[in-house]
């Protein structure tokens, strides 16, 4: 369901509303894309199974809400360590074997993982559309002629906090430096005594923890079903490309651009056009500015 539809009837100033919707939707996209950005930036692996980890996060929110009445905001704190473990496990079982393989082998592997997870969800939980609707998912805030959903504001705030935290972690901690160094020159990093295999495992686990948490957060805003991740993962690629392939802050800005295209495009041309519009943008960026809108020339190869 398009979150813009959740607004309900209200007298709203169209322009301000478009701005607010863009920012809030951009926050959700950033939340989903940040893990993909990290994994791509450090490992140079495009994780095609990213949307499926999002879907698993959504199911986690659904089942804990339905069976135990747990609020998604509480489940969020459990989901981060849980999905970190899921990341360690999938790295050891799947990614470790292809980390030095060709890009093609990595693509086929993550696509395979994606399909496997979708079907596991289908077998385990059927293809029914499920809904998580805690009290806060229906709270509409009205400020200065605009209306927005409380759950979107929370998702946005957490997306920004997560992006800033990851950015600071990458920039100012020793482990962050070690991760960037590994991305820029694996052999040189090895010669500095860095265990690069462990760096990749940690990167993957952090990325999966981010997207799992994102799944829990967006569950109250969308419906939950085995292929729920697909609609987000495509636009995550657009975000990562716009942001400069691995650039954390770029991805946040890229998310806002994708959201703006979607919100404004839907307003003027109808929602059917939104994917056409942002994939035209996607292709245009790849053709004319392959390092991304904000990226540094050459950085697309090196994970700056």
């Amino acid at each position: 369901m398009d979150p813009a539809r959740l607004l309900g009837p209200a007298q709203i100033d169209a322009l301000a509303q478009l701005g607010v919707s863009t920012i809030l939707l951009g926050g959700i996209y950033a939340l989903i894309a940040v893990g993909l950005t990290l994994i791509f930036g450090i490992m140079r692996v495009v994780n095609f199974a990213h949307g499926e980890f999002l879907m698993l996060g959504m199911y986690l929110a659904f089942w804990s809400f339905t069976l135990y009445g747990l609020d998604p905001y509480f489940v969020l704190f459990v989901s981060i360590p849980l999905f970190f473990l899921v990341g360690l496990l999938t790295y050891a079982l799947v990614m470790r074997g292809v980390i030095t393989a060709s890009h093609n082998a990595q693509i086929f592997t993550t696509v395979g993982l994606s399909t496997a997870l979708q079907n596991v969800a289908l077998v385990a939980w059927t293809g029914d559309f499920r809904f998580v609707r805690p009290w806060h998912s229906s709270v509409v805030l009205r400020i200065a002629g605009t209306a927005f959903n409380l759950a979107q504001v929370v998702a946005f705030a957490i997306a920004v906090a997560l992006t800033v935290a990851l950015f600071a972690f990458m920039k100012w901690t020793h482990t962050g430096r070690v991760m960037r160094a590994t991305a820029q020159d694996r052999d040189a990093a090895t010669l500095m005594g860095i265990a690069t295999d462990r760096v990749y495992r940690l990167t993957w686990a952090i990325g999966i923890a981010c997207v799992g948490a994102a799944g829990v957060l967006v569950a109250p805003l969308y419906s939950v079903y085995p292929t729920a991740g697909l609609q987000f993962v495509l636009l995550s690629y657009v975000v990562v490309v716009l942001g400069g392939l691995g650039d954390m802050v770029g991805a946040l800005l890229g998310s806002l651009i994708v959201a703006a295209v979607e919100v404004v495009g839907s307003y003027f041309f109808g929602t059917a056009w939104k994917e056409v519009l942002y994939f035209v943008l996607f292709i245009a960026v790849l053709v004319f500015r392959p390092a991304g809108l904000f990226g540094q020339r050459g950085a697309e190869m090196l994970g700056a």
Binding site: H174, D185, L191, M192, G193, A195, T196, L302
Partner: protein, 243 residues
Amino acid sequence: MPTWARNSSLLRLESVDAFYGDLQALFEVSFEVRDKEILALVGANAAGKTTTLRVISGLVAPRRGQVLFNGDDLGRVPAHRRTDFGIVQVPEGRRLFPFMTVMENLLLGAHPERARAERNQSLEYVHALFPVLAERRAQLAGSLSGGEQQMCAIGRALMAKPRLLMLDEPTLGLAPVLVGKIFETVRTINADGVTVLLVEQNVRQALTLAHRACVLESGRLVLAGPARDLLGDERLKRAYLGM
């Protein structure tokens, strides 16, 4: 060989064969690096000099033969663990982390556990050796000039507190005045107690600097001895010194 010489051996290669795929790069290479000396490893392109360094640092596993450091067999020690022994390589082409600052590159050098505790002293030492690295601490390493990049690469390796510093073609592509400066620095580092294994195409200068030298030809060790003697060797003169 007298016992004192055997005792003073820091690194020993024994009959090392190494391959890249099916291509054999080293044939029964044996030599030793003695504690506190500068050993020059010279030879033409593709003679196996870089491969020898990569075998020692663990990036290439030898198919046969042994690498002994201070008497320990390094055969089962993975590359990233060898810095714990004090084996540190400055790779050919410098291989800095180009999108990180000079300071970040240096700090990464101190990644090994035993180097991290002394990070601040090491940083002072490196900045005293190369004051330009202190001036350019916030600049991206990829934007430095060739000479400065080489200094940064050597500085980064020194941050790891090496016992054995391996330098692969440190003067490649540098202006003559900088070549002299790099050689001078290597002499200083060695005087401060670091054993140096130097790979150079600049044969004459390398032999002037080094205590001893080994000559590789097509993956085989063909000559070894005191550097001064090799400078006068007729075969070497014809092959590398153009005399």
